[in-house]
Symmetry: C2
Subunit: 603 residues, 2 copies
């Protein structure tokens, strides 16, 4: 069987780099230990080997179909829903009292990484059901929980998040799906939602849509948005499930992720669709952002996982495919010599190291995020607040970096295979199609970048950034204690200062009220900051690897630990210089994407 | 009808920037003038509007099929072959005495650009037939010409280039297709070729394969490669066409360009396949490089053209799709305000300007290359040699930059559309798949980069680079005469110096015989140099635009000329800084993709 991820790297990140075991000191997680975590992950790997990986090409070749209002997905979707329920994955992070496993997010994310690497078309069905159930659990009443969540945790009912409408994509203030209060206090809903992942299929009896709606008479804009549960089938007075007037109007045919349904839903065409308000009126957006933030991390994870599978496919090819010869001292090749494997060509190694550095750096960042999610849950006081703030700061980066660079990584994977990479005979072309959506899901790169520069850098008087700077500085201090890591620590400290310099250049625009100018290059700023953040992950990994090599306390081989340091060096030589080019662009005073009224530049 | 290229930009490059009219002073081109060139291009645009553009999605959705040894392509392939013959496009650059039109390469390339932008699946069939005919004309005997070329010019016989074999992709020294000399002096051929574009279809009666083979007993390596014509049907003694034992063994199914056949050919399975030697024995590689160099320019052109079509598709969407609101002075949005078009969001403009700068810069470079191809043909003495040298220098760049950055440009085109860009309802996803092959065709980016750094920078004692530097310096001088272009001229001069600095760093490795180290970062060097070369194109375009604005001698509107200067400024702010990050990487002394024997970094 072909490999699709490195279990070693996953465990290295989990246990060595991000201190999973420290987390277990919190009583909430007292039933977990390293051994059980290892067993769980190895079990999931076995499951993915047989139930997920063998089907990823089939799901592409025989994609989701839509016919007569019905969506049909691959049979393995039925398998993952039932196995996820059986294993408790759907409500894994819930308290025991809610039927959950009190599993750390770090572990759930690790588990998802294995499944997503094996097959990026499957886990979304589980993840969305889990996220939707969590949203009801967090903000809904006990009544609402009892009505919907148990069936979701059993995998019988699927969950979704419904935000986008045909006329309102990234701009949520324009949603028009409307809830009308009835005389009995209930709400009837009318409207349409598009791009709803996992919105329907034959393996769930019911679908529980968590939808943003506008209650009739609510204020305009995002302040008038409420969160509602809109099931496809509702309980009637007799206690039976009855159709709730939710039409599946279509399935979007996509470039990739073709095994993952992307539906078009119509609520209330027969004026018989009821919705259940979650929490308070007009609080929909802040509520939804709990699920949205989780979904953003999941998208980053799916991107890193898809790129991981592509990396291992190209690595395998490079280690098996002979072609060309090494150069001899005079720069010529000797045709008498045997062909060499393509992995021995420096440019092929460069492409592979690029992929490796992107994927492994991304996974490390994602696990750091989930560690903060866990601390935000179980810690208290300052520690909890710090964790929440760090998670908030890192979320747009953890969504964007793996997506943007993951696309580049998979593209390099194709390039490693040469012409074969472009043929349907190899899986690279599929990964290339699959991963392309990740910069679009759950807020495009442009939206994430506005969030980073326009909110996360400035809210709470810059406290979020300050906390991040402290974390990076601590790693820099640690790295400086090792002679051979010191040069990289110094570079990272410089780049951190560069971010400061860029902010001093940009903030005056905001202070003068010129927000457009302040935010015009937000996406370049995102590339700059995210490169520094991943450089930080690499330095942190190198420190942990160094510690292992020196103390001899190593989970894996010496080569494994040395390869982490090597990849860190790769990242600093080949990727970190982008920080400088981004800086040059941002500091450049020219205003070329403004003023907004001038269209003639596109003549 | 949707737009897919800018005829204005094409004509601006042709007439204003690269002086098509100057070329006409050579008697060889005396039958051409600006008016006839304009008429020709407008006529081709009309043709492409009706015969090419309406079919590009159909060719993707109903791709080339292979069944029982037969390839079936879309009916419009028949149309383009016959219309190309009718209009004289196939032998357009040939002398009148060879039945050609003595058309400047600049004009042929312009014509191809229109067709490729309209539909990138069609023109390859014409271009390869034309290139193969040209190869026979240049190096073959009159007898060979008469046997094959007239039917090719009539579009009845298709032409191909056959290099790749299953065991030898980029490494041509390993080809094993063998020609056996018969007692009558003829050659029988045995072997296989893969990835042969346009290698078979139902609209040509015969296929004329220009193949690299090894004559039995030839020296090993590239020195033992000969060029042969291997037709699918040969003339027998009775003067009839008889089957030449060339089997079409398959058609590769690809990620994109699905209307363009990519065949697998088997020669001589029944030991009845004859080949005709072109020119001298063992001279195959240098001969083939005439066609290969032309094909490399064509790949760059197809990339720029595909990216052009994607750009106009995303521009149209951006100008029609309302979404979100402008930021007000306090950074908030007013939901009472009407939605704005997405083109008014700075980040969307940035993505559009990126696409525009890549596509228009690429086209300008490609037309400069074809100008040199024309001069190499009609000029004499020093001028001819200079043109040849400049063309040789620019060819790997003109192939690589449009391909590499064209992929990024199309990806940004998807991003402009948001989620819709990922659906099959819009053409962006197709362009994204189509363009991905351009970095692989006719020598991957890695191969082009080795050619640039390892050969073009050093041969003739650096004379090629020197010539290029003189050209760039002349533009810098011109630009410095305009106050508002001067700052960009100064930057370009600095970047030119940066290349020099990087070479001083790298050359000692080559001198000490460490070629592997010298070439290890060739691909980064390519990115650096090609960015400078495109920056040069932009400065040159800005100078010409400025001249037009000042003198009032303008073919198009003032806005058009100002938009060139605007896009130049975009390129200098957003793209030129990459030169610096590439420089940092190359000057970094770490050796991370060497030594070749160490595989453990991928553990």
């Amino acid at each position: 069987m072909a490999e699709y991820l490195s279990m070693e790297h996953l465990k290295f990140c989990l246990f060595d780099v991000h201190g999973f075991n420290d987390l277990l000191q919190y009583p909430y997680f007292s039933e977990y230990d390293e051994e059980s975590a290892n067993l769980l992950l190895d079990g999931v790997k076995d499951w993915a080997d047989t139930e997920a990986f063998p089907f990823f090409r089939e799901m592409d070749e025989n994609p989701v179909t839509y016919h007569d209002g019905k969506i049909k997905v691959h049979p393995q979707i039925g398998k993952i829903m039932s196995d996820a329920a059986l294993n408790g994955w759907i409500g894994a992070v819930f308290d025991y009292e809610h039927g959950g496993l009190q599993m750390p997010h770090m572990l759930v994310t690790s588990l998802y990484h294995i499944i997503e690497s094996a097959n990026n078309h499957m886990n979304g069905y589980v993840g969305l059901t889990s996220g939707a159930a969590d949203l009801i659990r967090t903000f809904g009443s006990k009544e609402l929980f009892d009505l919907f969540v148990p069936s979701m945790m059993e995998g019988k009912w699927g969950g979704t998040m419904c935000l986008t409408e045909p006329q309102a994509g990234s701009s949520l203030s324009d949603i028009t799906t409307t809830a009308y209060r009835q005389e009995d206090g209930r709400f009837k809903v009318k409207g349409q939602k598009i791009f709803i992942s996992g919105g329907d299929h034959q393996y769930c009896e019911n679908f529980v849509h968590l939808a943003l709606v506008r209650i009739e008479g609510a204020p305009k804009g995002t302040k008038g948005i409420s969160l509602m549960v809109i099931p496809k089938y509702r309980w009637n007075d007799a206690g039976d499930l009855t159709y709730n007037d939710v039409i599946t109007a279509g399935d979007f045919q996509k470039l990739g992720q073709r095994g993952y349904a992307t539906t078009h839903l119509v609520f209330g065409e027969q004026n018989d669709c009821y919705g259940w308000l979650v929490g308070a009126e007009n609080m929909g957006l802040p509520y939804m952002f709990q699920m949205m933030n989780g979904a953003r991390i999941d998208v980053g994870l799916t991107a890193a996982s898809t790129a991981s599978a592509a990396y291992y496919a190209s690595l395998q090819y490079a280690m098996e495919r002979p072609q060309g010869r090494k150069l001899s001292r005079d720069g010529k090749k000797n045709p008498e010599e045997e062909q060499t494997l393509i992995i021995n060509h420096p440019d092929v190694r460069r492409m592979l190291l690029f992929q490796k550095s992107v994927i492994e750096g991304s996974l490390s960042l994602l696990l750091e995020c989930t560690r903060y999610a866990d601390l935000a849950h179980v810690a208290e006081g300052q520690e909890k607040e710090d964790a929440l703030d760090l998670l908030e700061f890192l979320t747009p980066i953890a969504k964007t970096y793996p997506s943007e660079k993951g696309i580049d990584a998979v593209s390099q994977g194709i390039q490693v295979l040469g012409g074969y990479g472009y043929t349907m005979d190899f899986p690279l072309q599929q990964y290339y199609r699959d991963i392309r959506i990740m910069t679009l899901y759950e807020g495009t790169t442009g939206i994430q970048s506005l969030d980073l520069l326009g909110r996360k850098m400035t809210i709470k008087n810059g406290r979020l950034v300050q906390l991040m700077v402290e974390k990076v500085s601590a790693t820099i201090r640690d790295a400086k204690t090792y002679d051979d890591l010191k040069p990289y620590a110094i570079i990272l400290a410089e780049k951190l200062k560069d971010i400061e310099g860029v902010m001093s250049h940009l903030l005056p625009y905001a202070m003068k009220g010129n927000y457009e100018r302040f935010l015009a290059d937000a996406t370049i700023f995102m590339e700059m900051v995210s490169t520094v953040i991943i450089a930080h992950q690499w330095l942190k990994m190198a420190v942990k690897a160094k510690e292992g090599l020196i103390t001899g306390k190593m989970r894996f081989s010496t080569d494994f630990y040395e390869s982490k340091i090597h990849t860190m060096r790769y990242f600093f030589k080949y990727e970190v210089p982008r920080v400088d080019s981004c800086k040059m662009t941002i500091l450049n005073p020219e205003e070329l994407t403004l003023p907004l009224s001038e269209l003639k530049v596109f003549i």
